[in-house]
């Protein structure tokens, strides 16, 4: 089912929950809503579910405007962060509940619940109550309850945030493959960027109630359209630095208090668009420890991450984060030389925070 949100806003008195949201979601697509706490992800989801009435704008499912429809008429399945299982019903009762309300014949109820339980691997738990289940099992029951009524659209509100890291990893894969197999349009709210990047076909990045970008994970990572996205997507985060462009002997250069680097000619347009100060961004993996590198610095902090060491390096007065091979046994105080892969540099207007190199 296609979903289209246009000019969707929700205000709670003076508080803006969501502001003028436009979004086109394809049939069968897996879309993640990514953004920091309080940016309006849940509010958007609850408007789609029919719990909140939009202040302005329309919500379209397929070719139907659903603004006026009650939740029960929207044929959606929803998985909540708290799982929201009915504590007084058994697992079977929880999963049948949507079917009971739809007045599905008893035998078919039985069959469909058993099928859903089978899919979710909880067939042996049907007689238990939610309080007698582990978090992961509750999560599966919640998913089973959302799936059993064969919804057109699945809504997830941070469904994995209460699980441990390992279980989160398996559930990610399961949810994703289940959704692909059933071909249900899914909208998945998360503030975990790894979840969004690994699961979603496209990611809607939100901040302060507004849509910042709506693009594929690759696009967001490679060509972040705003400084907010550049900083929010990617871990460890992108390094930012205030610089100015300069021309020297016909070559383009980047200059800051403590750094002077040559730039490839493709940034000429960005340099032309810039007006004085510019924010330069570079990801930790694009700065390389290189004994012949043009820049010298000193290791300030070493944070072992297991596969890599995260180094905080001081160049003049600036700090850069970068990743190093643990075999180097870097230690604070080491003198190092760096080279920057400037083909992967990002530039932003410091006032509008928009990217200068691409739109």
């Amino acid at each position: 089912m296609e979903v289209e949100l246009s000019n969707l806003s929700k205000k709670f008195g003076d508080v803006v929950g969501v502001e003028a949201l436009d979004l086109d979601i394809h049939d069968g697509e897996f879309v993640a809503f990514l953004g920091p706490s309080g940016c309006g992800k849940t509010t958007t989801l609850l408007m789609m579910a029919g719990i909140y009435r939009p202040t302005t704008g329309t919500i379209r499912f397929g070719d139907r405007i659903v603004n006026q429809l009650q939740p029960r008429d929207r044929n959606i399945g929803m998985v909540f962060q708290s799982y929201a299982l009915y504590p007084h019903m058994t697992v079977f009762g929880n999963i049948t509940y949507p079917l009971k309300l739809k007045k599905v014949p008893r035998q078919e109820q039985q069959r469909r619940v058993e099928a859903a339980a089978e899919t979710m691997g909880i067939a042996h738990l049907l007689d238990r109550r939610p309080a007698q289940l582990s978090g992961g099992q509750q999560q599966r029951v919640a998913l089973g309850r959302a799936l059993v009524k064969e919804p057109d659209i699945l809504l997830f509100d941070e469904p994995l945030s209460n699980l441990d890291a390992r279980l989160r990893l398996t559930m990610r894969g399961e949810i994703r493959s289940l959704q692909k197999r059933l071909g249900i349009t899914a909208i998945y709210v998360t503030h975990d960027q790894v979840e969004a990047l690994t699961m979603a076909d496209r990611i809607a990045v939100m901040n302060l109630g507004r849509l910042q970008a709506f693009a594929t994970p690759d696009d967001l990572y490679e060509r972040p359209p705003t400084k907010f996205i550049a900083g929010f997507v990617g871990n460890p985060p992108m390094n930012f630095l205030d610089i100015e462009f300069a021309q020297e002997n016909g070559t383009l250069q980047l200059r800051s208090e403590s750094l002077e680097l040559g730039l490839p000619p493709e940034f000429a347009a960005a340099a032309a668009a810039a007006d004085g100060a510019v924010t330069f961004g570079i990801r930790p993996e694009d700065i390389i420890l290189d004994d012949n590198g043009p820049v010298s610095g000193e290791v300030f902090v070493v944070e072992p991450l297991g596969r890599d060491d995260l180094l905080d390096i001081i160049v003049g007065t600036e700090h850069f984060l970068l990743l190093a091979d643990p075999k180097r046994k870097s230690r604070a105080g080491d003198r190092v030389r760096l080279s920057f892969d400037m083909t992967r540099a990002h530039f932003f207007d410091p006032r509008s925070e928009l990217a200068l190199s691409w739109k």
Partner: protein, 306 residues
Amino acid sequence: MQANLTAYGFMAPAGLLVLLFFFLPVLIVLYLSLTNLASANFTSNLAEMEFIGLRNFQTLLNDQFAKKIFFNTIFYVMSTLALFNVTAALIVSLLTAHINRRAGFVFRALWILPRITTSTVYILIWRRMMAEAPFGIINQVNTALGWPTWNYGAENPWVFVILVNGFIGISFGMIIFTSAIESIPADLMNASLVDGSTYLQRIRHVTLPLLRWPLLFVVTYQSLSLLTSFEQILLLTDGGPGLYRTEVWALTAFHRALSNYFGNTQWGYGSAFAVVLVIIGVILAVVYMRVFRFDELVAEPRIEVL
């Protein structure tokens, strides 16, 4: 040992109060119920009081009106509880939980008025309402509409006794139920709607089952407090009209022991009524604790959530 002493030390003031203002009076009443103390056979000398064993209770058993009063009491407690203290309170809570928050608050505040109005004033209003034509307000409305007038006080005293007490009783359950409804997680309520319920279905399948403990608590507490309440009935009908039409047990205890009924204040006999009430109350409390497993009710969170 030291810690125990400290604990007892902290409990002592409350314990002393209970001892002084509950156990001691009960003991005194118990003793009085075994005497013939009454204004007819007592002048000013306590020594004239006679210990007569269980004779008061024997009299009570053979009292031709005691049985009627007993069933009056059961009728009064059950109807008020079923119609108002539980059902109406639940309806008001559910209703106000589903409307605009501020409107809900105002509506609930209205229902607290009967509880906080001085009982004499409150009863005065009701007596004005139910009075005979041409004085009573309801009868004035009847007249204006061309309907027959009616002597409510004489014809339907129970209706008014129950209404008067019910209106007071609503607020207690209402407050308990409302706070319980509001503490049901929003996700759970939303999940039910998304799963396809109407608001009514949600009340039936989700809200009410989650209100099980608060419901039991209100039934327990309110039945015990109705059993011992009598001041509204005293002020409204004084147990009448006629002989004991709306007389309840607690009111009889008052009439016999503390008001000059039939020109003879029977402290001893009235105490016997009071003692029966205390015994019934204690038995009921124990039964409730067993049946409803009150200890769990108190120990667990008020509503069952994950």
